[in-house]
């Protein structure tokens, strides 16, 4: 059973991201070239531990001020000016980890200055002070579908007439806290991820990622030719880290977004972290719902950027669609045989498509998908 998707089209006035490759254009080019940002790195940074695949913008060990701040300053400089954080131009910050690496750093060196940015409200407070945002900063945290929620909520605010423009800002930087956590679950191990590959052992990588999007009601304007036309969400509540074995959770979300996509010719950017069971369920459900439709994941190159992945990968999609190559990056790090023959391992031309489905999922069996369309 699935709830219908929200069909509240919102224009994307501006959008960019930051990854270890650089901005969205540089990252899309790297993906088209099949480059991996992931490298094997000690899971606890300077505290050592097993080597695991991480894609970092700098050393993982937390600093003062926090290591994510310089990159976010660089990214925020690209945001079109507005009275961000006012009631009519609110900000939605989405993250899974916020500044939790600072709490880990405090437990190692006991320097109380780390505590000033260790919690969600403290790290968002730092962003407000840095970027001059007002009080109307909504904060969402829903693990790896968080950015999807922020974008969906932005559409609701716009369509209710409660906002003129909405800035959705997302960031997640890897720390020993999160790397150690996924390593304890054994899914972050010594293998590089191969999304949707049918192999013996599953593995993910983790990566630093940040992105923003300025959303507007003026979809279709010359300055906002891309729009997010629909959002579908579903929460299985079957298991903390597993999915319903029959794929019903994936199917519920996929059916809702497919209904919203109607007769459009779409391709699919999946979640595709490199896990076996979730990867198989996702690929099979999407192949049934969108037969003969290319499916890609970019987490084999960039790692999983956690709560920011939905917005980072949206920015990469826009960069690829705007790029001179005319191609969408394939599943970097993937390998044959894949779970389904829809998995695109190589770049493909986007000519002939008039939309894309962008899917994600998270702990608790949370599923999210959005429909990107362009004129």
């Amino acid at each position: 059973m699935s709830a219908p998707a929200d069909q509240l089209p919102a224009g994307i006035e501006a959008c960019d991201c930051l990854t270890p490759f650089g901005d969205a254009a540089a990252t899309a080019s790297a993906l088209l070239a099949g480059r991996r940002a992931l490298t094997l790195t000690p899971v606890l940074g300077r505290d050592g531990g097993d080597l695991v695949p991480l894609a970092l913008t700098g050393p993982m060990d937390e600093t003062l001020p926090p290591r994510w701040l310089p990159g976010l300053r660089q990214l925020a400089a690209k945001i079109p000016p507005a009275a961000w954080g006012s009631a009519r131009t609110p900000v939605i910050v989405t993250s899974s980890n916020f500044g939790v690496g600072s709490l880990y750093a405090f437990t190692r060196d006991h320097d109380a200055r780390h505590l000033a940015h260790g919690t969600p409200f403290a790290s968002v407070g730092l962003l407000r002070a840095e970027f001059g945002w007002g009080e109307h900063v909504h904060v969402f945290s829903h693990a790896c579908v968080t950015a999807h929620l922020g974008l969906a909520h932005a559409a609701r605010l716009l369509h209710a007439g409660l906002a003129d423009r909405v800035l959705v800002f997302s960031f997640d930087f890897v720390s020993p806290f999160v790397a150690g956590g996924f390593h304890s679950l054994k899914i972050l191990n010594g293998n590089l991820p191969a999304p949707y590959a049918r192999r013996e052992t599953g593995s993910i990588g983790l990566g630093d990622g940040a992105a923003f999007a300025v959303m507007t009601r003026s979809a279709g304007r010359q300055n906002a030719p891309f729009q997010l036309a629909a959002h579908a969400l579903h929460n299985e509540m079957f298991h903390f880290t597993g999915n319903q074995p029959d794929g019903a959770g994936f199917a519920a979300c996929a059916a809702a977004i497919a209904a919203a996509a109607g007769g459009r010719r779409v391709w699919v950017k999946g979640h595709g972290t490199g896990t076996l069971e979730a990867g198989r369920l996702e690929a099979e459900v999407l192949a049934r719902q969108f037969p003969d439709t290319p499916l890609v994941s970019w987490k084999g190159s960039l790692g999983h950027t956690l709560g920011s992945c939905g917005l980072v990968e949206l920015a990469l999609t826009l960069a690829a669609l705007r790029g001179a190559d005319g191609k969408i990056p394939g599943t970097v790090g993937g390998a044959a045989p894949s779970f389904t023959d829809t998995v695109a391992l190589e770049p493909f031309a986007h000519a002939g498509f008039d939309g894309a489905i962008m899917a994600g999922n998270a702990f608790g069996g949370a599923h999210a998908a959005m429909l990107l369309t362009h004129e």
Partner: protein, 227 residues
Amino acid sequence: MARGHPVPPMIERFIHHVRVEPPPADETAAGARARLADKFPRTALRRMTHLGLLLGSVLDGAPLGPEDALVYASTYAETRALEDFLLSFPAASPLLFQTSIHPGGVQQVLIGRQQPIARLWPHAGRTRLVEQALLTALLEPAPRVALVGGEERGTWMIESGIASDQAFSFATVLTRDAAGAAGRVGFNSGNSVDEPCPALDAFASALRERRALAWLGAGGSWTLEWR
């Protein structure tokens, strides 16, 4: 199917379920586990956190189906799991890791019940948290929206001012049906002034005492009223 619509002059929902947990000030997770044991499956109970137990208690009897939505508000969220997970290094605990992640508190409850829902909106702010969670609830097209919130008391993080010094939880179920409602929450757009927004614990107290609230914020005026 939810589609765009003209700006409503007022958005309102009616309150049909109100539960507030103000546990004893010194209650521990073990104490809550004993006090609330009959509300949870035994297999789920032993792994639940204090916040999870308090949220489960206030959601007990709340009518929620797979087409409904839940808005969850917590500034500090799974503080104890976070504290203990940090102290588990270098042998990081997988159970504490997954429990420490927002919105683990409410997921413990819904997974224990095997209760799917359409949409879950976990807020994690502080300054205007109540207002933002209410706005999310009012914009939900789901027939029933559970508005849930709470905190658990921290230990070593309290000393640094980054954890709640009290435990509490609340749950309301909001619908469009005025019949039989205990109260109403409303938002009138058209105001540009911001007044201080009630804090999460103050909002929980207002629910418990059936006390009216009114303030300006988010470009409009807010009212919480009772019948």
